[in-house]
Symmetry: C2
Subunit: 233 residues, 2 copies
């Protein structure tokens, strides 16, 4: 059964943050919160009568700084992060196949989907998949820095994400065109980078993108590896 | 039970559009679609495997033009609009207490909530209320033009919307601060314009706002009264 998350947006970095909750419980999970929106996000939890159980990160972001550490401090939530991202202070280092439990009977399944970064994880919950920067709506994350690999991303998407049921709702980590949600079935048939492309075609396409270096990467990645908290702080 | 809608945003007018659907059916309803996003909205329906049954308007908007007519033409959906808004071409003119049915067993309840405009409606569905410009998160719509009335808005909010269960999720027609959703209980306790204020205090506050005339009002209202289609077209 589909239970849509609450979707929040950061206009500066076009990042989506998600709040997951079910009617039967006041426990909530937040995925990929953004530093400057910590008050907005806490206000949403307060207004909805929710208590934060977990902060999840899909990877160590290069384009914005997480508020995971701050939310953890302020709410008592725990942080669960991809084991391969070097995010040392988190309570839980996640590996492929792990689960995160919250509420009375909620289970989030953890899928290791490397390619944008070597550690990137996707999270599956109630007919939804939160793909971070691995799979975007009609696109995908870049693979040319921070341990990225077009080869790994191709496998993650075509073997793991496209193996989910077609009607799985796909909630990306970013969107730059005002889109909110897609489905695995649609992306499998129509994603302009990954549908009906060979591994070689995809690698060639990604190799030719010649994207500029992310403006914030040298600040953001070390900060995010400390859950967005000042080092030594 | 709460079933979150899909929430879409127009950055130019800060307008929210909502897609309502349930897992058991492919029927969907869209509330307050915006002209320039008709393709985006159709793509969402397509990606989610949904068929548009109804286009609903909360009122005749003054700050943007609806795509209701266009979506109706392209999908075969019907338009249901507030009876008091002069939106003549719609199939269904809604009155307080009416219901809109879709899917196998979905019912949207219609609440007449005048004040922002005399015809404004709110829509109640599955523990959610879509309030248009009557009640905003920590705010409310203006009441100084287009048959608006602070007195009517005060009654609509305090007697009708605040009478809904406290945990009803409140989805506004606009937000200007990156907020997505609130609850009736929170707004009843904390809304800075309407919580714990007398009718007289509220009327005084609204009378002193001195807001500029909406830039698009002379174009948008007549266009929206024709479901956003060219007159004579």
């Amino acid at each position: 059964m589909h239970l849509n998350p609450i979707q929040l947006f950061d206009t500066e970095s076009s990042t989506f943050t998600y709040i997951l909750a079910v009617p039967e419980s006041t426990d909530a999970v937040i995925i990929d919160p953004v530093d400057r929106h910590w008050e907005r996000d806490l206000r949403h939890l307060e207004r909805l009568g929710l208590k934060l159980a977990w902060v999840l990160e899909t990877h160590a972001h290069a384009d914005h700084i997480t508020s995971a550490g701050k939310l953890r401090q302020l709410t008592g939530a725990k942080a669960a992060v991809p084991g391969g991202c070097g995010i040392a202070p988190a309570e839980t280092q996640l590996n492929d196949g792990d689960t995160v439990q919250f509420g009375s009977a909620e289970t989030i399944e953890v899928l290791h989907t490397p390619g944008h970064t070597a550690g990137s994880m996707s999270y599956v919950w109630h007919g939804n998949v939160f793909t971070g920067d691995t799979l975007l709506i009609d696109g995908c994350g870049r693979t040319d820095f921070q341990s990225g690999s077009a080869d790994a991303l191709y496998d993650s998407v075509t073997r793991k994400l496209f193996a989910l049921p077609d009607d799985t709702r796909m909630w990306p980590g970013h969107d730059y065109k005002g889109q909110s949600v897609s489905t695995i079935g649609w992306e499998k048939r129509h994603n302009s980078r990954l549908a009906n492309r060979s591994r070689e075609e995809f690698a060639k396409l990604m190799g030719e993108l010649k994207l500029p270096k992310p403006r914030l990467i040298d600040v953001a990645v070390p900060a995010n590896q400390n859950l967005g908290l000042p080092h030594g702080g």
